[in-house]
């Protein structure tokens, strides 16, 4: 994972936990130096409820945690090494 850069995460699905049992799942479109996230196709989950919210900016101060699925992380890493392999 350590070889990955922020730009590698662009386009991948992040699971962002906010306060009070609120989770936003969306694909990362942009991130700034303060780690304010811009997510697209956001799905909000609260309890058992789920709804879509489109393009959402998530300020760093609201973020409790950012998670990514293991398979997706594997894919990211695999792509990265493949790419590096090609260069080498």
């Amino acid at each position: 994972m350590d070889a990955l850069k922020l730009s590698d995460f662009i386009g991948s699905t992040l699971i962002v936990s906010l306060a009070e049992d609120r989770i936003l799942i969306g694909s990362l479109v942009a991130v700034d130096a303060q780690m304010n996230l811009l997510l697209d196709h956001v799905e909000e989950r609260i309890g058992s409820g789920s709804r879509m919210m489109g393009l959402v900016s998530v300020p760093r101060r609201s973020v409790q945690s950012i998670k990514i699925t293991k398979p997706m992380l594997r894919d990211l890493a695999a792509n990265k090494f493949e790419l590096m392999g090609n260069i080498v």
């Binding site: 700034d32 303060q34 304010n36 900016s57 300020p59």
Partner: protein, 175 residues
Amino acid sequence: MEIVYKPLDIRNEEQFASIKKLIDADLSEPYSIYVYRYFLNQWPELTYIAVDVKSSTPSAPIGCIVCKTDPHRNVRQRGYIGMLAVESTYRGHGIAKTLVEIAIDKMQRAHCDEIMLETEVENVAALNLYEGMGFIRMKRMFRYYLNEGDAFKLILPLTERSCTRSTFLMHGQMA
């Protein structure tokens, strides 16, 4: 009170935050962080702040102007004033006017053919400020703002290119 005007320091995160706070308090339209990122990160040289160096917070902006420039239909360079705000206790001292002048001067030097902005029909103070500088109303827009008011589109012409229909400028370019 002693007001000093300076360009935005985009590397100064505190400044970014205080500009956002200043504008959020002043404008009715809601702006996300990425509205500010759009302007400030892409055209950092076109945002200016005013600070009161004699106050207890000499580095905190008490006023700011946020602009950008873009080619308009590929025929003329258009400067755009996106946001302008002055803290309420500092109003009536010509700070807004100076900020606008500094920004327009900068955009003129950056070869803009015109400066454009939109403002609410009801915003008499803004209309007076801009119209006093030569801006004229080009069109009225029906229910433009979230608060449901009409808006005027204002333009200040800086060069001849501003005064010719873009369709004909395009033909000119091809010729």
